[in-house]
């Protein structure tokens, strides 16, 4: 369980990190918190020629706000985000972070690292998709914005090229009429989810809008707009039960993972259907200020 030898570069500037990756010709790997990467190295499932440590690049360690967005840099630790006001300003982040691994992993693990690793059962990629976050991908040719929903290309595969660094992610701050929900079922706390949901409801307009993102149910986060289903269910006395039946087709379509030893596909569908309707109902009541429990 020892990583194979690798060259180690810890530049102070982003341009040098990019140059290092370019020189490595596909043999380089970026490390920040390393909480997903180091196990992979330890098991020698990956043997990069050079590890490019971006922790020395000061500009990547910031949380900034502008124009209704919070931008989280590539080396910002998950636990730092949990403790920052940003976890209330982007409530879904605050709700999801306690589910990410364990405290001990979040001390070092980064938000951007979790996105770049793109485990299909991970929480933060789903949060990014649900909130329509924008990811800044920087390569030799400069920076480009990639929408979270276009970023995830499959299990542990993303829009990142071998010479790219995910330098930051931008989340919209919560506004009037916004309500959120997050839940997952894992065999043990800290394990990757068997199925999980992130939802965002906005009840400002005449018709509510609702976004449902599932994780652990496919090879990447799956996102659907379910405003119409929510609107239809609103008239019924039991919102959650009404959503259960109205979301049945969407849920069946979203969950396409094969079953595994822990849960069959049908079980995951059932699980996901329950979680999705429950959290959507909660999120909707939160938009109306009718729910006492807050988002922290």
């Amino acid at each position: 369980m020892k990583a194979a030898p690798f060259a180690y570069a810890r530049p102070a500037r982003l341009a040098e990190a990019l140059a290092e990756l370019a020189r490595s010709d596909g043999g380089g790997k970026v490390i920040s918190g390393g909480q997903s990467l180091v196990p992979v190295l330890a098991m020698r499932l990956a043997r990069p020629d050079v590890l490019v440590d971006i922790n020395g690049i000061a500009e990547l360690g910031r949380i900034e706000r502008s124009g209704g967005f919070a931008e989280i840099g590539a080396t910002v630790r998950q636990r730092a985000v949990e403790r920052d006001p940003v976890s209330r300003e982007v409530p879904l982040l605050g709700m999801a972070l306690p589910w990410v691994g364990h405290r001990e992993l979040r001390s070092r693990g980064t938000v951007c690292g979790s996105l770049a690793h793109a485990d299909p059962a991970a929480e933060l990629p789903a949060v990014a998709c649900c909130l329509d976050a924008s990811l800044t991908v920087t390569g030799q040719d400069g920076a480009r914005q990639v929408a979270a929903r276009d970023f995830f290309a499959g299990a542990m595969m993303t829009a990142l090229g071998p010479g790219d660094v995910l330098t930051s992610v931008r989340f919209p701050l919560a506004g009037p009429g916004d309500g959120y929900g997050f839940a997952e079922i894992a065999r043990r706390h800290g394990d990757f989810a068997l199925a999980g949901v992130a939802v965002h409801v906005n009840a400002e307009g005449r018709e509510p809008s609702a976004v449902l993102t599932g994780f652990g149910i496919s090879d990447r986060p799956v996102t659907r707009s379910v405003g119409a289903e929510l609107a239809e269910a609103l008239d019924s006395g039991d919102l959650e039960a009404a959503l259960r039946s109205r979301l049945a087709d969407v849920v069946e379509d979203m969950v396409d993972t094969e079953g595994d030893v822990h849960a069959s596909r049908d079980y995951r569908r059932r699980l996901f259907g329950v979680l999705a309707s429950r959290e959507l109902a909660k999120a909707y009541t939160r938009t109306r200020g009718r729910d006492a429990d807050d988002h922290e």
Partner: protein
């Protein structure tokens, strides 16, 4: 809060090439040169002799290696040591002292929250982090909050109780780690690379001149002996002036080279029963004043298992009738596996060694030669018997005193 607060020095190293990294471990600065792939857990255990941090799965699942990095619990097996330049690390060794445990450690003991003990350092560091981060954490959240460490003796209920009890005792936050301060670490040697099959660093054998930094804080053992020997002061000082002869008077010790600047390389063997330790190290003569009858030496040694010992030894003589009274004052600091001897036994052994030393000085002062050859390990049997007798006698003396 973010890494940007501590600018990291730029580094570029080829595969296998050693990278210098400096951090603080339990209050003591340490500088190591390690290939980048060496994890913090291996650096602590193999290069700094701090074996309290256990290694279980080595891929971030079991939590055995949990330590504090900049005040927050982290898995030492998921960190490359070179990434921690400038970091402040606290391991279970820094949490409490053997005779002044941290309240969490006490509570674990009281509640039988450990059985085999393998997970205990991980649980202690994780729960320390929890109770400093969230002093008001709800009782029902404890099992999940502590789920980052696995216990295979199924002692979770007792562990949760121990943490809960400590939390109730300190509602405003638990005391800081109680054993952090400058002390001896094996960190000055660049050392071997632990465990790796691709390990390509040669062992660093050549004695080198080093700066011996005397640790602050309490020594592990303080030895103070006064012996009367039937030799005149000048003869005793003839022995002290001949550093090679003096070294041979130390049981098991041997001088192997002069490093200049009053520094000497040497080695020492200690064997107690089945325990055999071979130390290599350096001694620095700080003060050698024949007129004032004072000799002060700092010594630092390291054995192949990462055990580290450091000592501040002062020898003084004064005339007493025909003979001389020899005072030896030694502060001995132990880390690594040798510290597991326990203070009492290690203290007894050290005291016994100094008594043998005094006898050897007397013999050398008379005959001009140390008792029996250059390398003489102290007889295990004699040391054991001596220590045991000492330990048996002492309470009895105490007992009879109380009876009076």
């Amino acid at each position: 809060m973010t890494t940007s607060e501590r600018p990291l020095r730029p580094v570029r190293a080829e595969a296998g090439e050693a990278v210098e990294v400096s951090f603080t471990v339990n209050g003591t600065p340490a500088t190591l040169e390690l290939p980048a792939r060496v994890t913090l857990s291996d650096a602590l255990r193999d290069h700094l002799g701090l074996t309290g941090t256990h290694v279980g799965c080595e891929h971030g699942v079991c939590g055995m290696c949990t330590v504090l990095v900049d005040g927050q619990a982290a898995r030492a097996c998921l960190l490359f040591a070179v990434q921690l330049d400038g970091a402040d690390i606290v391991t279970v060794e820094g949490l409490g002292k053997p005779d002044a445990l941290h309240p969490l450690q006490e509570s674990f003991g009281r509640n039988h929250a450990l059985q085999c003990g393998f997970c205990t350092p991980g649980f202690l560091m994780s729960s320390y982090d929890l109770l400093t981060d969230k002093p008001g954490v709800a009782a029902e959240e404890l099992p999940e909050e502590l789920s980052g460490v696995i216990c295979r003796c199924t002692g979770y209920r007792n562990i949760v109780t121990a943490v809960r009890e400590t939390q109730e005792r300190f509602p405003d936050g638990i005391p800081a780690p109680g054993n952090c301060g400058a002390r001896a670490l094996a960190g000055r040697a660049t050392g071997r690379v632990g465990g790796g099959q691709d390990s390509d660093e040669p062992p660093d054998d050549a004695p080198k001149s080093v700066e011996i930094v005397l640790p602050g804080g309490e020594p592990t053992i303080a030895v103070r002996i006064t012996t009367e020997i039937a030799v005149a002061g000048d003869q005793v000082w003839d022995v002290f002036d001949d550093i090679g002869l003096l070294a041979r008077c130390l049981p098991g010790a041997e001088l192997t080279g002069e490093l200049g600047g009053d520094q000497y390389a040497g080695r020492a063997r200690v064997s107690v029963g089945p325990v055999k330790l071979a130390f290599k190290g350096v001694a620095q003569v700080l003060e050698h004043d024949r007129a004032a009858r004072r000799l002060r030496v700092l010594a630092q040694g390291q054995d192949s298992g990462g055990a580290q010992t450091q000592a501040d030894i002062e020898l003084r003589t004064e005339p007493s009738g025909e003979g001389t009274v020899l005072h030896a004052d030694a502060k001995v600091y132990l880390t690594g596996r040798i510290a597991q001897f326990g203070r009492a036994l290690a203290g007894d052994i050290s005291r016994r060694m100094f008594e043998q030393f005094a006898a050897a000085v007397a013999e050398a002062a008379t005959s001009g030669e140390a008792p029996s050859g250059p390398v003489r390990a102290p007889s295990a049997l004699r040391l054991m018997l001596g220590s045991l007798l000492d330990r048996l006698r002492r309470p009895r003396r105490k007992g009879s005193g109380a009876a009076r």
